[in-house]
Symmetry: C2
Subunit: 252 residues, 2 copies
């Protein structure tokens, strides 16, 4: 896995995340790709996963993260997906610099993070440490509530944010692309993978959100990234998993 070279920072960022899933790290990858900055996806390099785990186990480091993803930026180590995006957004113009817009972008990201956590819990409602098969019955109940109640509420909210944007419905924040737009794209992509039948139904009511996701996907740097081997395919070790029995409306 080579670094993507761009002349913005001297030393490339180091992204530390699980090497075989998109997961929460993908929100960071998308921001790094859109910013066009150099980064190394460390755990996908030789012995990189051991490097990541050594940092997590570091008994002396002051700013030790609870879990991946985390970003090393020079002397700083920054964890928690939304927090990394807050940092990258300020540094690389992926969020407004004025306080109100900066906080609003972050607020939307945190709401998207809530949906992502709930999407994870559809297949792991009891415990992240148990196998899916050992919580499948509970997963079916939870997924049904997700597709019937939670997703309409969350996606309806994002649609409303677009519709109520005084600069028009092409962006979540103002008139420029922010990391919240990139994350909305990833959310829609993941939900479509996990719940294709439910999403086909739900997206009829969220045309502006669907259009936003389509526009992000064809942004030059994002399109190049999605077509590259750097984009890991969705799979059933990931946050968004396609289990037909959890997709409301599918014949399971």
């Amino acid at each position: 896995m080579e670094a993507c070279v761009a002349p913005v920072v001297a030393k490339p960022y180091e992204l530390h995340y699980w090497p075989t899933i998109q997961g929460r790290g993908e929100f960071v990858r998308l921001a790094l790709e859109e910013a066009g900055v150099a980064y190394v996806d460390v755990a996908r390099t030789s012995r990189g996963e051991a490097k990541m785990e050594a940092l997590l186990d570091d008994g002396r480091s002051e700013h030790v993260p609870f879990a991946p993803p985390f970003l090393k930026a020079g002397a700083m180590t920054i964890g928690q997906t939304a927090n990394i995006l807050l940092f990258l957004g300020e540094r690389h113009g992926l969020a407004p610099s004025a306080p109100a817009g900066r906080l609003w972008t972050h607020q939307l990201q945190l709401t998207i993070a809530d949906v992502v956590a709930e999407a994870h819990d559809t297949h792991h409602p009891i415990a992240p440490g148990l196998y899916y098969k050992d919580q499948k019955r509970e997963a079916k109940r939870r997924a049904r509530h997700m597709t019937d109640e939670r997703l309409p509420k969350y996606l309806g909210y994002l649609e409303r944010v677009l519709q109520q944007n005084t600069r028009g419905p092409r962006h979540l924040v103002g008139a420029r692309t922010t990391y919240a737009d990139l994350s909305a794209f990833q959310l829609i992509a993941g939900l479509r993978y996990a719940f294709p039948h439910a999403m086909a139904r739900l997206e009829r009511k969220t045309p502006a959100l669907t259009a936003l996701a389509e526009r992000v996907a064809v942004r030059p740097r994002i399109a190049a990234y999605l077509a590259s081997p750097r984009r890991i395919a969705f799979n059933e070790d990931d946050i968004f998993r396609h289990y037909p029995e959890l997709d409301s409306g599918a014949r399971a």
Copy 2:
């Protein structure tokens, strides 16, 4: 409910949150109290809950929140608990002003928010919209994993952050009280209420975290707040709920 008057800002902040629970709003209340700033807990005033709901339903407002809590600060409306704390931390000295410390404080807050969400899901593992009695069996399974696996991991992490703080284990960040310390206090208070037996066992391994919580509780403004009618009692409509059958080690 009267406003707590202090001369820091001209117009008091408006906190909008459910009036009968501590919930996520409590993390904001603690920061406002520690900062000593004037605020109105709007939904606890006459017709205040209707005002809150009108703001949530506002079809024109650009920065509409997904859910309470949200804070009105002059012309700004700020949602998502951690985001509100990011704002208050910067404005009222409840976080370092340098980027590294500011992000680290926020990172810890986001990790605490993850524990809070998991604590909620111990009694609502299937859906927030269902009654506890309708997901009690699943709740027992989830709570067992929470007290046996997740809480040791999370609390052990916070203990380690304290122990690895180069300025000593009295604060999570540097040598001063931040909103992350206040939130750690609230987390421990809530977990003790919900899981007294499990916490009695777990806290033996987290002496620095326990000591931090005790110190926050006796800070003058926090102690005054906790003794006042502004502090709502824990109850079983809240995020932290005491159901003996979910407390590992209790005789349920």
